[in-house]
Assembly symmetry: C2
Homo-oligomer: 391 residues x 2
């Protein structure tokens, strides 16, 4: 199976790849649209019907689309900017190969299998992660989603070419289970395949630090109200508080106005990404960071405003399903993750599980993200086993 | 004169203006090209010949271009991003009005007056401030200047449409004096017009903080090598060291890769702007900041590299010329500035002076930058008086 994996993987590996091996596959951008064409072509080759849900999500069907007892698998194509190639596409490629494997084995599922490609899972273009699955489940208002803008001012509605359709009743009424296969994103998995127990609660808070834009050369230090200082203090506070709490906090995205070498900024906008094993810990962490930001703003003569952009509670995947899959896979380890996934959004509505494929370096969201062909092949075998069991 | 000033000023005020009153007038961009057209039109209206020097600098002439004894005045059109409208254009508008005033008074200068519009004074587009005057004086290699890129990857050579001509022998052989009028950029001037004594030494250092890009959700804090932390520590160190040294340090421009909310950055690039009353103080300041950055990088497991992009020594304007102009203007105050100017670059080659117009709030490089029509009118009168004296 590792050879079959390597062959199919090679078809999409060049799409959106940059010189350093990283990927630019923003949702509904040219590379991601090419991957969607590739998806349709793969479905055609397998006599699988493709349906769309009006939210930007695609589904390739083995069996009657949305017939009762449907099992959904798949993942997403979009990447974080300059991210790795496995996060997302591995789940889609593995799903098509699992279909092949079941057919080779003469398995005829009694229920339909739908291979999904969810749109904008990373939130890398429009800012809200799991946008496609949130729309499908009604977790975000279609008008709000339509109005989300990318860095160039293009809205999600414009990129989609329509107002999103929003919540679908098919999910609760027709879907028996969801299984998303994904590369593991830490170094917690020491065998090729594992099963997810939970997703840490996580969220993104936009922090606007405002002050007085002025000339960097002529403004005396004591006359300044420089929001970059407040921002810098907050970055260090977030790191310190996360370490104390045994949680994760990151400020990895920044935008500055006017962003000129010889000008004191008038605005520094930073996005705080915070995650923890439980919601109260995450909330205390964010509170502590905001408190220190506000205190420092008082010293700097600046202002801070904080806006939650997306906050997801802890996801505990269906315990009995996870246990069943672990047993089916010969006692595969069951482990939590700090990363958000469409499966986490869907799990509030349908019994949902995730399979993880080993990540030897633990690197993710960066060009060095990698899984071996052997482990990916083992992932396909595991997914086929699970799909056969569930259908 | 304040009414005449207000009328002419109103012609250019809308060009490149944003909703909040700030300006986007990058060198050789559409708004700056419109200002250059306006410049040619103003010259035509006054029967002044316009010449170009092949470096992007324009000159409008009363008298024979570059005849011996030439007195240059004028300033620049380009702004910092979202900057004020007075920094630069005030010197050009005032120069045309000073010509009008001398003509109304029947003055016929014995030597030519050249009104200059220097290109890319702010370095806001191509990164090197005073690019036009540096090229003209040979302070920057034309090939290096041609290769400078803006944020979109366009080179200065491409924007100019040619390889810059580089150093001109006319400056040293034909120019008797340079007088640049400029809005004051602090709150140091308490009367309408002053005379510059010196420009603080200043420079820009690009600091690249590199670490390991990774997933913000899944990477344990102790496994991280996050360059944002090193950057943040350096921002606070620069502020602290500048206060201790009685100098100015600013990090107002930042770029981050991949700049995603859910990714630990692989690169944070910050530009340090440092200025002080003397070069040794500035150098000690930068050394102290770099030392603390490197120490913190050792803790964070990140790397720091520092590249000086432009470093300008102290400029002491011609003392006797400054004294003469101060006396001529009824004892106008003589004061230094922390801001760089084309006049500072030219002063190494030609006797040079600057006139400052009062800035009541001291704000500059920001939308609130402002001088009153009355003070600007007084600036025109002062410039006319000075030009009459020097020609």
């Amino acid at each position: 199976m590792s050879a079959a994996f390597a062959r199919l993987w090679a078809e999409i590996a060049p799409i959106g790849r940059e010189d350093n091996g990283g990927y630019l596959r923003y949702a509904l951008s040219e590379p991601e649209l090419r991957l969607r064409d590739w998806f349709r072509d793969q479905a055609d080759r397998r006599d699988m019907t493709v349906t769309e849900d009006g939210n930007g999500n695609l589904f390739a069907w083995w069996g009657t689309p949305w017939a009762p007892g449907t099992v959904l698998t798949g993942s997403h194509f979009d990447s974080v900017p300059h991210g790795g190639g496995y996060d997302g596409p591995l789940g889609i490629v593995s799903a098509f190969l699992a279909v092949d494997l079941l057919r080779e084995r003469g398995v005829t599922p009694a229920r339909p299998i739908g291979v999904a490609a969810f749109v904008e899972e990373e939130g890398g273009r429009f800012g809200v992660p799991c946008l496609g699955s949130r729309l499908m489940t009604g977790a975000i208002d279609p008008d709000r989603a339509a109005a989300l803008r990318d860095r160039d001012g293009v809205t999600f509605g414009e990129a989609l070419g329509a107002r999103p359709a929003g919540a679908s009743s098919l999910l609760a009424s027709r879907v028996a289970a969801v299984v998303e296969l994904h590369i593991e994103q830490g170094r917690a998995l020491e065998v090729p395949v594992g099963v997810a127990s939970a997703i840490w609660p996580h969220g993104r808070w936009r922090m606007d630090f405002t002050g007085d834009g002025d000339h960097a050369g002529t403004t005396r230090m004591i006359d300044r109200h420089d929001p970059m200082l407040t921002f810098a203090h907050t970055v260090l506070a977030a790191d310190r508080e996360a370490r104390l709490a045994g949680a994760h906090a990151t400020i990895g995205r920044v935008s500055v106005e006017p962003n000129a070498t010889n000008a004191i900024p008038s605005l520094v906008r930073g996005w705080l990404d915070a995650r923890a094993a439980d919601t109260p810990t995450m909330e205390r962490l964010v509170e502590a960071v905001v408190k220190q930001a506000v205190e420092r703003a008082g010293q700097d003569g600046t202002q801070v405003s904080v806006e939650p952009e997306s906050v997801s509670p802890e996801v505990a995947f269906d315990t009995s399903l996870a246990g069943r899959l672990s047993a089916l896979l010969g006692g595969a380890p069951i482990l939590p993750t700090g990363a958000g996934h469409d499966a986490g959004v869907l799990s509030a509505h349908v019994p949902t599980a995730m399979l993880f494929v080993r990540n030897p370096t633990g690197v993710s969201h960066a060009p060095a993200e990698h899984a071996s062909d052997e482990d990916c092949g083992a992932g396909v075998e595991a997914l086929a086993t699970v799909l056969a069991e569930l259908t």
